[in-house]
């Protein structure tokens, strides 16, 4: 059985995480993705790493290899007229163009929907940008840290009320890019469904900032509803909900419902302190957390993470290990589900990567190709598919267009 999206053809002009993640989601479901990189350096994800042996190499960057498996790779300078012409030829044969070209650069090279829709009226063009394509902040410069901050997420994390001196804390990695990417993939698939129905394309304008502001749990509404500001300094209304240290690592102690606390107390062997009035309900346990934490630390220091996790989960208490990368790779559960996948790459070698986000009953998620080396498919795509002669390809290469 072919992948669910195996009849879909996508052109991606993507760098770092957002647009590349959106098209990766689709490529892994069977879509053909032609990734366009700038000649010379290519996607800046190629310099991000991690690298085998810690040695930077443009074909061995973990971030790039992960985000771009299953894609065909070409190089093309779309700022040059000959380059844009080739882009138009690629787009003419595609269903979808996904890009995250910075809006001032879109203006500079003339990358806009009106122009491409003339070439292909069925085209779905998705622009995933830090702030979206309208509004006063459209042209702002952005990195993952600044977008995570502008989206209202970063302010929620930090050292907590005990450490007001510590600033808001960024979450690891390129999360604003990933979120712009997956929200962009949803919007793109929406437009693809409308394309299927109406035979017409459209422009999809995705804002990474708004993708983050859309998932602030209950914190955003604290202002419109109650005129309260939610920050990293908020106290937890109920306890215990904390990462705590065991003998061999950290475990997230999590009792939301009263029956969960009672079961945990039972697992602890019903110690006398647990019967104290100051720990009688989840609100009191939060009020008297300073006292409770001492007892819990005393108990946890003799426990091993996996053993305690299994013991409390057997009583339906939602603890979880604070997983290290090693814990994830060694997890019996993830092994049984076959989550991690090996991908062999001609230059970077064979490594294990995170696998399918979802398991489909009828259509496969599969890795068909490793990430492309820079310009790997230039002759296949420009020559065989678009019909350029070898002499023309040489000339474009010599002049730096591809």
């Amino acid at each position: 059985m072919a992948g669910a999206l195996s009849s879909l053809k996508i052109v991606e002009i993507g760098e770092m995480a957002s647009a590349p993640y959106a098209s990766k989601l689709m490529a892994d479901m069977g879509a053909e993705v032609i990734k366009v990189e700038r000649p010379g350096a290519g996607d800046p994800a190629r310099v991000r790493g991690p690298f085998p042996g810690g040695q930077p190499h443009p074909e061995k960057s973990g971030l790039f290899l992960y985000l771009n498996s299953n894609k065909l790779g070409v190089t093309l300078d779309i700022a040059r007229p000959e380059g844009f012409e080739l882009l138009e030829k690629l787009v003419a044969q595609a269903d979808v163009l996904i890009h995250n070209v910075w809006p001032p650069d879109m203006d500079r090279v003339g990358l806009n929907f009106e122009r491409l829709a003339k070439v292909n009226p069925r085209l779905v063009m998705t622009s995933i940008t830090p702030y979206g394509l309208t509004g006063p902040n459209r042209n702002l410069r952005a990195e993952d840290l600044t977008v995570w901050s502008a989206g209202g997420v970063c302010v929620l994390n930090g050292g907590g009320p005990a450490h007001p001196e510590m600033p808001p804390l960024k979450t690891f990695g390129h999360q604003s890019g990933y979120q712009g990417g997956v929200h962009g993939a949803v919007a793109t698939m929406g437009a693809v469904m409308a394309q299927l129905r109406d035979g017409a394309g459209q422009h999809v304008d995705v804002s990474c900032q708004e993708s983050l502001a859309s998932q602030l749990e209950l914190t955003f509404e604290y202002w419109p509803y109650m005129k309260l500001i939610a920050t990293r300094l908020g106290t937890k209304p109920i306890q215990p909900l904390e990462a705590m240290q065991c003998k061999d690592g950290w475990i997230y102690v999590c009792c939301v419902e009263e029956h969960q606390w009672k079961s945990f107390v039972d697992v602890m062997g019903n110690p006398e302190w647990a019967g104290e009035e100051i720990f009688a309900d989840r609100l009191k346990r939060a009020e008297n957390w300073d006292a409770l934490v001492v007892f819990l630390e005393e108990y946890l220091k003799d426990q091993t993470v996996l053993d305690l996790y299994k013991k409390v989960q057997a009583r339906r208490v939602p603890f979880a290990p604070v997983s290290t990368m090693g814990d994830l790779l060694n997890s019996e559960h993830l092994k049984a589900r076959g989550f991690f996948v090996e991908i062999a790459h001609p230059v970077a070698g064979t490594h294990k990567y995170p696998g399918a986000p979802l398991k489909y009953g009828a259509t496969p998620w599969e890795i068909r190709l490793p990430a492309p080396t820079l310009g790997q498919h230039n002759s296949e795509i420009f020559g065989q598919r678009l019909g350029l002669t070898a002499a023309r390809l040489d000339e474009l290469k010599r002049t730096g267009v591809i």
Binding site: L145, G159, Q179, M193, Q215, K359
Partner: protein
């Protein structure tokens, strides 16, 4: 404008709390008719949580948490202790394209709505189950709560200040992340069904979706056998790269001073030159301690002190404006008040929505993070009151007569 992309697609929505409702919210944003199955005997926990308008708790329809993530959906109430309620649900499923739940593993089977049951009701049904651990594997019955999924995923081990313990993301990130991935999966399955006529079952594990956001951390381990160190707000390829204190908010909120921060990311040497000019210290651009990335990383603590000396006497808005005008990436570390009232950009994009709600009026909610140029993109209505659409759905969609509905209500099937 043309009809929204999922106009005519109906979703029987068994979801609750956050991951599932965030999933079906995306589909409602795309125009699907999302019908939430609820029960008064055990209402969605988010109906019982703050924030409350005017700080007055109470009722099942006034919570900002529920009202944010249920916009544009309909609600019917069914009491599955009554067999007639099952019949109503079966009739709804027969008229649906998609069934989504985020109950613990096995609950849908017990209710009689496992995938095999659903397929008997409608042969091309698409079913999605959003769980913490997925439907197979030795931990399939483990209980997953939002806050614990962040550390489980590996994100906590990677996130934290230098020399601090693992930390959280500040919110239950794996929930919406799982939800939005689930929405993507539904769309791909709808596409496949449109092409082939075939429905399918989709098993989603929040844990796995979250690990797909952590590839750099996981690959450091699989490539090099190393656990990545926690580096706070730093970046290996940029300095300065951090979050810096600015002057506090001018007004107190609930009698408390609210501190303010700015995020600054100086991408390279060119940007560093712009940055030092902007803060009035151009000589630092030639200082051997800071002239190259390597030097700036080696002297990052000293550099950060210089940056913060400058930001501390200014508002976050001013710092972000001055730096952006100089060509350096910077942004206010936005809190909910800033997003709600002070960010001119979100207002200009009409991001926020103010739909009329029968009990709370037209309060501000977050809208849709994308815009489609040809098909209508709008949040059609405020979140439903509990059971608001029971009569409407039973009579108009499922073909019950008014008297049949009245009888079902009398016997308690619609609680």
């Amino acid at each position: 404008m043309a009809r929204p992309p999922l106009d005519g697609i109906r979703i029987t929505d068994f979801t609750w709390v956050w991951a599932g409702p965030y999933c079906t919210l995306q589909l409602a944003h795309l125009g699907a008719d999302v019908i939430r199955i609820e029960t008064r005997t055990r209402p969605c926990i988010t109906r019982l949580l703050p924030p409350w308008p005017d700080r007055k708790p109470g009722g099942l329809n006034r919570s900002g948490y529920f009202n944010q993530y249920s916009q544009g959906k309909r609600s019917i109430t069914l009491n599955f202790k009554d067999p007639e309620a099952h019949e109503v649900a079966r009739r709804l499923i027969a008229k649906s394209d998609v069934v989504i739940n985020n109950f613990a593993h096995g609950v849908m089977d017990k209710l009689g709505f496992g995938y095999d049951d659903l397929r008997k009701i409608k042969s091309d049904i698409i079913a999605l189950s959003l769980t913490g651990y997925g439907d197979t594997g030795p931990y399939q019955d483990y209980v997953a709560y939002g806050p614990a999924q962040v550390p489980l995923s590996g994100l906590s081990a990677l996130t934290g200040y230098r020399d601090w313990p693992p930390m959280h993301a500040g919110f239950s990130y794996a929930d919406p992340n799982g939800g939005v991935h689930g929405a993507f999966a539904i769309l791909t399955a709808l596409y496949h069904r449109a092409k082939t006529g075939q429905g399918q079952y989709i098993d989603m594990s929040q844990w796995e979706c979250a690990m797909d956001m952590l590839a750099e951390g996981i690959l450091e381990y699989t490539m090099n056998g190393r656990e990545p160190e926690r580096i706070g707000n730093e970046d290996p390829l940029m300095a300065p790269h951090g979050i810096y204190r600015c002057v506090d908010r001018p007004e107190k909120v609930m009698g408390t001073v609210v501190d303010q921060f700015v995020a600054i990311a100086v991408a390279g040497d060119v940007e560093f030159g712009r940055f030092v000019a902007a803060i009035g210290k151009p000589q630092l651009g030639d200082d051997a301690k800071f002239a190259t990335l390597k030097a700036r990383k080696a002297n990052e603590a000293e550099l950060n002190r210089i940056v913060e000396e400058w930001t501390m006497t200014r508002t976050a808005v001013e710092v972000a404006r001055v730096l952006q005008e100089s060509g350096v990436a910077a942004a206010v570390v936005a809190d909910n008040k800033f997003l709600s009232e002070e960010d001119p950009h979100l207002k200009d994009r009409n991001y926020f929505v103010y739909n009329e709600h029968p009990e709370i009026g037209a309060l501000q909610h977050c809208g849709i993070p994308w815009k489609l140029s040809r098909t209508e993109t709008s949040v059609r209505s405020a979140a439903p009151c509990i059971g608001q659409h029971t009569d409407e759905v039973l009579t108009q969609v499922l073909g019950y007569s008014a008297s049949e509905v009245a009888k079902l209500r009398t016997q308690g099937a619609l609680e």
